[in-house]
Subunit: 454 residues, 2 copies
Amino acid sequence: MKPLSPTDQLFLWLEKRQQPMHVGGLQLFSFPDDAPDDYVAQLAEQLRQHSHVTPPFDRRLDTRLAQPVWVHDEHLDLEHHFRFEALPTPGRIRELLTFISAEHSHLMDRERPLWEFHLIEGLQDRQFALYIKVHHALVDGMSAMCLIRRMLSTDPGQRNMPPIWDLPQSAHHREPQESTLWRTLRYWVGESGKQLGTVPAVAREILRSVNEARKNPVYDSIFHAPRSVLNQKITGSRRFAAQSYRMARIRRVCHAYSTTVNDVVMAMCATALRVYLMNRDALPEKPLVAMVPVSLRHDDSAEGNQVGIILASLGTDLADPVQRLMHIHREVQQAKDRYAQMSSEEIINYTALMMAPAAFHLLTGMAPNWQTFNVVISNVPGPKEPQYWNGAKLEGMYPVSIAMDRLALNMTLTSYHDQVEFGLIGCRRTLPSLQRMLDGLEQGLEELEQAAGL
Amino acid sequence: MKPLSPTDQLFLWLEKRQQPMHVGGLQLFSFPDDAPDDYVAQLAEQLRQHSHVTPPFDRRLDTRLAQPVWVHDEHLDLEHHFRFEALPTPGRIRELLTFISAEHSHLMDRERPLWEFHLIEGLQDRQFALYIKVHHALVDGMSAMCLIRRMLSTDPGQRNMPPIWDLPQSAHHREPQESTLWRTLRYWVGESGKQLGTVPAVAREILRSVNEARKNPVYDSIFHAPRSVLNQKITGSRRFAAQSYRMARIRRVCHAYSTTVNDVVMAMCATALRVYLMNRDALPEKPLVAMVPVSLRHDDSAEGNQVGIILASLGTDLADPVQRLMHIHREVQQAKDRYAQMSSEEIINYTALMMAPAAFHLLTGMAPNWQTFNVVISNVPGPKEPQYWNGAKLEGMYPVSIAMDRLALNMTLTSYHDQVEFGLIGCRRTLPSLQRMLDGLEQGLEELEQAAGL
């Protein structure tokens, strides 16, 4: 028995029918060379034998003395959690994305451990996929990524590798750079020093801070984003879209313009948003603002890998792709420079205030008449070397994140080996045909290549 | 725009995360003789062309002047409703049932028309399946069955047959024999003459009637059922199990014992429940009581096909299968005889009182310390002749009903051509390995065959 942390409770509390709070990861594998045609069915049979379930995957919610707790599930039904599934003909990536869109829309059963592991056959070209779905209250996004990486190996010869629910137990490191809104919400919830029963108190405290901060003209001038269709109430159905890009291709563009990989990736997202919204006649006059976790490496810092959250204008009002890239480059640099002059404590306070309107809305359901950002773009570092699972090569890994009220789109990227993997999750009703943004990403990169004569 | 009826509202009101209120139908088809191997994929492509959606399938929920209404969905996204899916290897009925179990557990998106049409490929032996899921607020169970039947034809040569969402509009007849709890809840809700905003008032009225009735010793002696595991709070995940039986086989047993088809079918269910609960060491000493809709044909009645609800002891305390069958036979006959002496109005009042404790619980969430039945067994008449859809022969059709708090199992049967089709839906946590009840159904029939020397 283990009491839920305030953060765990927060994720349960934020969950609504139209706002599930689980995260997912999609991994695409190719068969080992010597694999028979029924390789995936054999793999399913092997996985079913792993009836032992290690923490935290054995934990279900319960209530003790009116407090929510995690307890060991005595009646764990592996068939509920491990699912062997198939794509319909013709088994392209398109069918895979349709499948993930539907699955990611489904709430999980709260009376059971809050995870599912989907093994998916029926892909073309001797490929198969895993889709791992975990509630944010059970495992935070970064820990989930760690667990998935622990399941894999760089050795193509290794066999008898257990699935994620039967990994040997170890001290799970929570990576330090856990990102985005959650850290901030945790800050607020922790700040008040109270349990979630006091959400209204936390919300009042946030509102007080926001109103105070807005009296400061500098603060107010930095933080405001236009109204947009991205920032409406969402519905319960999702669309997932994903795409891999060669890192080498993106690096060539970086070198041509002397920017970072992150700048180019953000410019691709900016073009995708601009084209998508223009086609819907819904592009705001003022540029969209993205919330982006970035590395705050100080040359003189011993820690070396501190991560902060910045808000950056995406220049979606600029028609010229090169101008847009350079605008983003400057925005990010300015935000980093601002941090460089701050102490750690100042950074924490500053970040918390950036997030305050969104946090207030999430906690209260009330929309403040002020928006500090329109979209979340996060870049999660992944494995640098090719990965294998029981001899099957990992071809791509795509994050499947969370869409929320007033944040109908989340763009998450992962680097893997020589690729950058884009995973876009959004509310399917608020953002119809979201998958078209993939064309926009490509257009964003192509325009920059052409302008540089690449 | 069309206001929701009190009954439509009731189904929305009863729906909880762990208690979805949709019904489903599973149809199993064989390929036409001349069909190519990719027949189902071609069919999917044809179905996608049916972008026209006729009422009620174009309706979504909305609110006008604080009242829930059905409105035409201007942005209907057919890809959300029509889903082409596949079973994993080896594509047996077992994989199909696992698939349906998972799908039937998922809540539907309330911001969209409340229906889904799943075309499922990957079955063995040149077969495919349809699983049609409709919220009870949109279409009641009987109307859904009518719509499905309207989609089919007795002519194997007919082609270009539209799917259920694009049927030519007609006056949909609500069949008169809509069954079970709903009619009763409608009675109570209608009785008070008020909208659902007054659920507490309706519940108080029910409780008053129950307490009055219990002062009558006859009433009290007729209506009580033992406590059992079937009558606990349920969770959100479902298990679906289904099986076809040849009508000829069941009729042979009927003739051997001079009983009805319904008696034998109930005896099969009784054996399945007895064996399942004994194996879990959870068989109540007193016999389980089933709620069963039955035909109340009076020889002198002009209407001829009135349907009533009876409660019948299933004799689950009796070890001898023949005694059990004869006990059920007498129970059903007594209940019918009781109705024969009542006026229509008396029947309505009597039925409403039978249902009152369950209705009270459903409306209030409070468990009355009194249970009138343990399980729902309903027998829905289906088509008498072989049916086809675009040349594909309908091999079986199985109802997928609703499990509810304190009614964790629903056993629904359909007759089709020369078959009786059993569809069992239950809470997967309350009733683990529910699919083993299929063995119990078979055992129930075999024991009766052996005892009769068949």
